[in-house]
């Protein structure tokens, strides 16, 4: 028996929905957020529609039932039912969308927000466009001094940072359980400090959570304002340590 195109397409759409939900929730254990799911389904429906209406025959299988429902005399009863059911349905959906809830409003948080072009710390202004780690040049020139600086950075890290960012810089320190979102940065991850210049880290450490711009949701990050606790020197050295330990290279742009 041949299955009508409309039913086939509905089944496919339903299967896609069920499949994605099952895959993420049950197999992978990480449910898919509603906002993403909505967009996925929208485009899956469009895709199915496209695939089924690409040629005349199957297109008729999709459009036919609708046309008959709307214009065919023999479908009068069904048509009336549909037109009675649709308005309350629209009403219910609208109500569900606009109903106030007790949930906190959703917000977008940029993990690496754009730094300002310059910022104030330690009683002077730093120009982010030209700022460089003063110890970085030692790496080639004087490796001994460089090791020394890295080791001092290590001390800074293990006296200040590791409580949250962890023993192994993996972002899982003792205090992590206390934070819900955002979690402390995992420095070993490929997408973290390897993507950034040292000047970015300097800014981020110096101003902490409260110094983030709006899109970084400064109210959400509990990172302290380190310029109040560390010296300029210490911050540069701990940055050396972060790169040294994780094996990442600070991002540079060839001039």
């Amino acid at each position: 028996m041949k299955i009508p195109g409309l039913i086939k397409s509905v089944v496919i759409i339903w299967a896609a929905w069920y499949g994605i939900v099952y895959l993420f929730t049950d197999l992978l254990g990480a449910p898919i957020p509603a906002s993403v799911m909505k967009m996925y389904m929208f485009f899956i429906i469009i895709g199915v529609f496209m695939a089924f209406t690409a040629d005349e025959e199957t297109a008729e299988e999709i459009f036919g039932p609708f046309r008959r429902l709307l214009f065919d005399r023999s479908h009068r009863v069904l048509r009336s039912i549909v037109f009675i059911v649709i308005p309350p349905l629209v009403f219910m959906v609208t109500y569900e969308i606009t109903r106030p809830t007790l949930d906190a409003p959703v917000e977008l948080r940029a993990v690496h927000p754009a730094p300002p072009s310059s910022f104030m710390a330690f009683g002077k202004s730093f120009n982010m466009l030209t700022l460089e780690n003063p110890y970085r040049s030692l790496e080639r020139g004087k490796p001994d001094k460089f090791r020394e600086a890295v080791n001092e950075g290590r001390t800074v890290y293990y006296t200040n940072c590791f409580f949250c960012h962890g023993d192994k810089l993996e972002g899982k320190g003792h205090f992590v359980k206390g934070f819900n979102n955002p979690a402390p940065a995992n420095f070993r991850e490929v997408g973290a400090i390897g993507q950034l210049q040292e000047s970015f880290l300097f800014w981020r450490i110096a101003v902490g959570g409260p110094g983030l711009p709006n899109e970084g949701a400064p109210w959400a990050s509990p990172m302290p304002v380190w310029k109040d606790f560390l010296t300029e020197d210490q911050i540069w050295k701990v940055i050396l340590f972060l790169y040294d330990y994780t094996g990442h290279r600070p991002r540079t742009f060839g001039k």
Partner: protein, 579 residues
């Protein structure tokens, strides 16, 4: 009619006059960065200056893209017509140019309005810019006049220069038209890119250092040139496609339907050809922006504009889906198209799957409850889709799929005449599979390496895609080189109504996308008129929200659409009177 068409000259002359007035004005620059003074910002009739300049500049750009894109392929089509001796091509090229004539004067008019607005609303900014770019702008205005003459000769001389060497002379006029048109765009790009990444001026004082070429040839100039050039071709194709679609729907006769169906198909093909390399040009531009300034790069990709790229992905996805859909429906024109029905289903599946990966956001919108279950705003699985590696792979596969659609369309109803057809098909299949595997493998590899290496991986991915496209095209050409006499050509005009709506979708999405990316390109300067040189001290020195920008872009698109409809209506009226 002629008066309407020459009206483009008046704004041009006005520009020149204003330019001379401004550039000859004295006044030494201060020893510190150029600053805005009292009266640096004005507003007329309470209209927000930023919105006024924004909308007029964007409208100017829409028209400019259109009138630069159309002559490029008009020229190509005329050439094809000369080579194939198919009169249809010549007629179509002519029709395209006729459409762009009125649009040309619109472009000039809006350019003139834009300049007047800048001079009156942002006098300090404008006078600084003119001090640096004055000579460039004079050349620009001069080129505009040359372009006008080339266009008039190209259009009005079409019948007079239709035979023998005169035809080639005519083609040469078309070339001249395109050369001047492209030069105009390239010059205009120089000040747009200067505002983003100034060069050739003293970074401390903003003073011109004496080398104009250094000012023009800024770090973002060439990426912007390439990006806009390619996009213009695709955009011109999209708009003409929509025009043909509308004409198809309203055509009363069989011949009319056949003609406009064929026109829509050709325009769509041109749009696709422009579309395929466009993501790569875009990546190059983004890469150069990153290299120029980390702040700008982060603002663009990770900061306040991160979500723009999700919307961009949706728009480009809509364009890709529309293009493919049009090709698939087009298979129905040719007998034998039915056998690809199953293939279409799989291609749709592939396209949608890639598309879903492509637009999965890096920063996901989540409710509080969802964050709790996941333990943060980072999704352990979807997070993998959020980064460049996944997106690059997805877009490359999408491009390959679109190319496959084109390939199938080209083959439908034909029989391979080469003796090695079987082996050829095997090689083509192998190429597609190997290309896809390579693209995906490089994408996966991207997760394991540092960022600077990862960014570099997009190059071999792109190379793979382009290589597959070129090699398959060559093999395919060899297989179908000798015409198959027994085959029935496409039945032009045999297209369902819904396929034409795909053409409208492409045109509208394209226009909207250009508007949106214009907002981003301008917006990443943030509080600067000219990045690091001249600060924006107006009350508008903030970045509007995406929703707000979207409304402006929509308004702009609607306005442009209305004007395009008006232009087509004028054209129709002119033709009616002529007949």
């Amino acid at each position: 009619m002629f008066r309407i068409k020459t009206s483009g000259l008046y704004p041009t002359l006005l520009c020149v006059a204003l330019l001379i007035a401004f550039t000859t004005e004295g006044g030494a620059l201060a020893s510190s960065l150029p600053e805005t003074h009292e009266g640096a910002y004005r507003s007329i009739w309470g209209i927000n200056s930023r919105i006024a300049v924004w909308m007029i500049a964007q409208t100017h750009l829409f028209f400019a893209a259109f009138v630069l894109g159309v002559p490029i392929f008009s020229f190509c089509i005329e050439l094809v017509g000369i080579i194939t001796k198919d009169k249809r091509y010549d007629a179509m090229a002519r029709e395209f140019i006729r459409i762009s004539m009125t649009a040309f004067s619109f472009t000039a008019t809006f350019g003139g309005i834009l300049l007047i607005l800048l001079v009156t609303l942002y006098p300090d900014f404008t006078s600084y810019s003119l001090k640096i770019f004055g000579p460039v702008m004079i050349v620009y205005a001069f080129l505009f006049i040359v372009e006008s003459f080339a266009l008039y000769i190209y259009h009005y001389g079409w019948s007079a220069m239709s035979d023998g060497y005169l035809k080639w002379l005519h083609l040469f006029t078309g070339l001249l038209l395109n050369l001047t048109g492209t030069s105009i765009m390239v010059l205009a790009n120089s000040w747009a890119s200067f505002m983003m990444a100034p060069s050739g001026v003293d970074p401390e004082t903003g003073e011109f250092m004496g080398n104009l070429w250094a000012v023009i040839n800024g770090p973002l100039w060439n990426p912007l040139n390439l990006h806009r050039f390619v996009a213009n071709i695709a955009y011109g194709g999209a708009i003409v496609g929509a025009y043909a679609g509308f004409k198809f729907l309203t055509a009363k006769t069989r011949e009319g339907k056949a003609h406009y169906d064929w026109m829509g198909h050709t325009a769509n093909l041109i749009a696709v050809i422009g579309l395929l390399p466009l993501p790569f040009a875009g990546y190059w531009l983004a890469k150069e922006i990153y290299a120029y300034s980390q702040q700008m790069g982060v603002t663009l990709m990770g900061g306040i504009f991160a979500w723009v790229f999700i919307i961009q992905a949706v728009l480009i996805g809509a364009i890709f889906l529309g293009v493919n859909y049009y090709i698939w429906v087009g298979l129905g024109r040719v007998s034998g198209g039915e056998k690809y029905r199953t293939a279409i289903k799989f291609m749709a599946l592939l396209l949608v799957a890639c598309f879903l990966v492509w637009f999965t956001p890096h920063t996901i919108v989540m409710t509080g409850a969802e964050q709790k279950t996941l333990g943060g705003a980072h999704h352990p699985i979807l997070g993998y889709f959020g980064v460049m590696s996944a997106k690059n792979s997805a877009v490359n596969i999408m491009i390959l799929t679109t190319f496959l659609s084109l390939l199938l369309y080209q083959r439908v109803g034909k029989r391979a005449t080469a003796s090695w057809a079987l082996q050829g098909n095997a090689v083509i299949t192998a190429l597609f599979v190997a290309g896809a595997i390579n693209v995906i493998a490089l994408g996966v590899y991207g997760y394991l390496v540092p960022a600077n290496v990862r960014i570099g991986l997009s190059v071999p991915q792109v190379a793979t895609t382009l290589l597959v496209i070129v090699m398959v095209s060559v093999i395919n050409y060899g297989m179908y080189k000798n015409p198959d006499k027994g085959r029935a050509g496409p039945e032009w005009g045999k297209m369902p109504v819904r396929s034409q709506y795909a053409l409208f979708l492409i045109a509208i999405s394209f226009t909207w996308l250009m508007g949106l990316m214009g907002y981003v390109r301008s917006g990443i300067r943030q509080q600067w008129h000219i990045y690091t040189i001249m600060k924006d001290n107006s009350a508008d020195s903030f970045t509007p929200t995406l929703g707000y920008a979207a409304k402006i872009v929509s308004l702009n698109t609607l306005l442009f659409m209305a004007m395009i409809v008006f232009i087509f209506w004028l054209d129709n009226m002119g033709k009616k009177r002529a007949s």
